[in-house]
């Protein structure tokens, strides 16, 4: 039931594992492949079910994307942002789910980290010493 972060089992054994989205996914820290924090897992986007069709025989919806950004506000205060405003991290990037959710890619190129890059490039990098290690 409970996945440990040290044991990344081969994919086919996942067939029997059950993850509770609320308990094991939502509000967990997302790290990139180098262990750098990317964001928190603010919400999940699951694939749509077809409209006006009997549900019998239709495949179960799957997780398409991890969501972050504005979606946190709507999760707390209610409402739903338009699909175009969502910040997505594709589910296929996820390589491990333990105490944290780990991605197999670098966070640097993801949409989710653009505010970090903006603050870095427009403010922090301009202050002397910002690019150096502390001494």
């Amino acid at each position: 039931m409970t996945p440990h972060d040290d044991s990344l089992a081969p994919p086919d054994t996942y067939a029997g594992q059950v993850l509770d989205a609320q308990l094991h996914l939502l509000d967990r820290q997302v790290l990139d492949t180098d262990g750098v924090p990317v964001s928190t897992l603010d919400d999940l986007e699951i694939t749509d079910l077809p409209l006006d069709v009997s549900l019998r025989g239709t495949p179960a919806p799957t997780i398409a994307n991890l969501l972050t950004g504005v979606t946190l506000g709507t999760r707390i205060f209610g409402g739903r942002p338009p699909s175009s405003r969502l910040t997505r991290i594709p589910w296929r990037h996820v390589t491990d789910i333990g105490v944290v959710v780990t991605l197999g890619v670098s966070g640097e190129r993801l949409d989710a980290t653009w505010p970090e890059r903006w603050v870095r490039d427009h403010i922090v990098a301009h202050i002397p010493g910002g690019r150096h290690d502390p001494e």
């Binding site: 409970t2 440990h4 609320q22 939502l26 509000d27 967990r28 820290q29 997302v30 750098v36 924090p37 990317v38 964001s39 928190t40 897992l41 603010d42 972050t68 946190l72 999760r75 707390i76 105490v99 505010p115 970090e116 890059r117 603050v119 870095r120 403010i123 922090v124 990098a125 202050i127 010493g129 910002g130 690019r131 150096h132 290690d133 502390p134 001494e135």
Partner: protein, 409 residues
């Protein structure tokens, strides 16, 4: 030998880093008004912070998760955002009080108005956070903070009537000049000053900063279990100094300068000079810790990259949050608000906010997914539960008592 030095350094910095403007002011106010009758609260608070800090340090070392990441994971987004709001604002209040404390201590050294020192102090704090390594920052302020041992020396030099002092401490009663409500209000304030929540944000995030593992747990346990009680003794010494010198003359402490007077009486100019260095170091160190805590809480809630072990460009939003918080602190103090007053409110609000961080840590310390085999033992849980009750009672009683007493007037 090197290991022994490491242990000694850890203990010394834990003692020196234990006190901040909240302890300096609250202990002195309490000593000048209630004598030693509230010392039991300091003892209780020190035991509490030992249990709490040790637990959060262990959680951070084993799971690699700092306090606010855990708060969010355990409480969910909605509860966590309320928790973040309260914890962050109270931390900001404490941060403001600490900068004001540095400015007041610098005024004692220089006679220059504290309002002029505030921006200087805040800039120095930022510079240290921006450029200085975590361990150096901790060690320097912690060791200089040891100068506050002068308070303990002063108690002996004042040659007090030990029987009266210990009698008040062991069999406490409300002094005739005070009401029961103010007594309990200051009991909560003193409890809040010993168990400030920022120490826990800072302690657990610091464990991640310094990359603690299972191996470092013994060292951290010694630091906490030896250093904090010794720090608590300094806090008691401050109260004793005020009890011996100020209480008989009817002086109620309302400023930091009064805190230094018993030391002058006991040890003369040299003691005063040492105590001022200690005050500057303690408040400066606490400003660093609260400023970092403001960055830690926000960054951990939103899952941003954080930490002093990274270059500022690698944790840009974390550093931006801290710069903004320091600017807010400067702005509040520029209105001429009295730092001592801000301190008195900050310790009481700290007591109110304690359950918000205490409960999630306690839950996670018992969670096998995070802790593996190192979950809380039975003894720890028993003590932790007793403190949970105390913390809840203090938290709930604080606001009614604040109303009844007019904030301890």
């Amino acid at each position: 030998m090197k290991q022994l030095l490491g242990v000694a350094l850890g203990i010394l910095t834990a003692i020196g880093g234990f006190l901040d403007i909240g302890d300096l002011v609250t202990s002195s106010v309490v000593g000048s008004r209630f004598g030693m009758t509230l010392v039991w609260v300091i003892v209780l608070g020190v035991i509490g912070i030992c249990v709490f800090a040790q637990m959060s340090g262990r959680v951070a070392a084993i799971s690699g998760r700092a306090t606010f990441e855990i708060v969010r994971e355990r409480l969910g987004a909605r509860m966590a955002v309320a928790n973040l709001g309260a914890s962050f604002l109270i931390n900001l209040l404490t941060l403001t009080a600490e900068i004001g404390g540095v400015a007041l201590a610098l005024q004692l050294a220089s006679s220059i108005e504290p309002t002029l020192w505030v921006p200087v102090a805040a800039f120095a704090v930022w510079l240290v956070i921006w450029r200085v390594k975590f361990s150096i920052m901790e060690n320097v302020t912690g060791l200089l903070g040891l100068c506050l041992i002068v308070f303990a020396v002063a108690v002996f030099l004042l040659q007090p009537d030990w029987a009266t002092l210990t009698g008040q401490a062991i069999a406490p009663s409300v002094p005739a000049t005070e009401t029961g409500a103010t007594y309990w209000y200051y009991a909560i304030a003193l409890f809040g000053s010993a168990m400030t929540p920022y120490e826990v944000f800072f302690f657990s995030s610091g464990a991640v900063e310094e990359k603690w593992t299972k191996k470092d747990l013994t060292q951290s346990r010694i630091n906490v279990l030896v250093g904090f009680p010794l720090g608590g003794i300094l806090s008691i010494a401050i109260a004793a100094c005020a009890t011996i010198v100020l209480l008989p003359q009817g002086i109620q402490v309302t400023s930091l300068s009064q805190v230094a007077l018993p030391v002058a009486e006991a040890g003369g100019k040299l003691a005063v000079a040492i105590v001022i260095v200690g005050m500057i170091a303690a408040t400066f160190g606490a400003t660093l810790e609260t400023t970092l805590s403001s960055g830690y809480t926000i960054a951990q809630f939103f899952g941003w990259s954080w930490g002093k072990f990274r270059r500022p460009v690698k944790a840009a939003r974390f550093h931006l949050v801290m710069i903004i918080c320091l600017l807010v602190g400067i702005a509040v103090l520029a209105t001429g608000a009295d730092p001592v007053m801000i301190t008195e409110y900050s310790v009481v609000f700290s007591a109110i906010a304690l359950p918000l961080t205490y409960l999630p840590i306690l839950l996670v310390a018992n969670d096998k997914q995070y802790m593996g085999d190192l979950v809380n033992g039975r003894a720890t849980n028993a003590v932790a539960l007793v403190f949970l009750v105390i913390i809840l009672v203090a938290s709930l009683a604080a606001i009614p008592l604040m109303i009844i007493t007019g904030a301890g007037a």
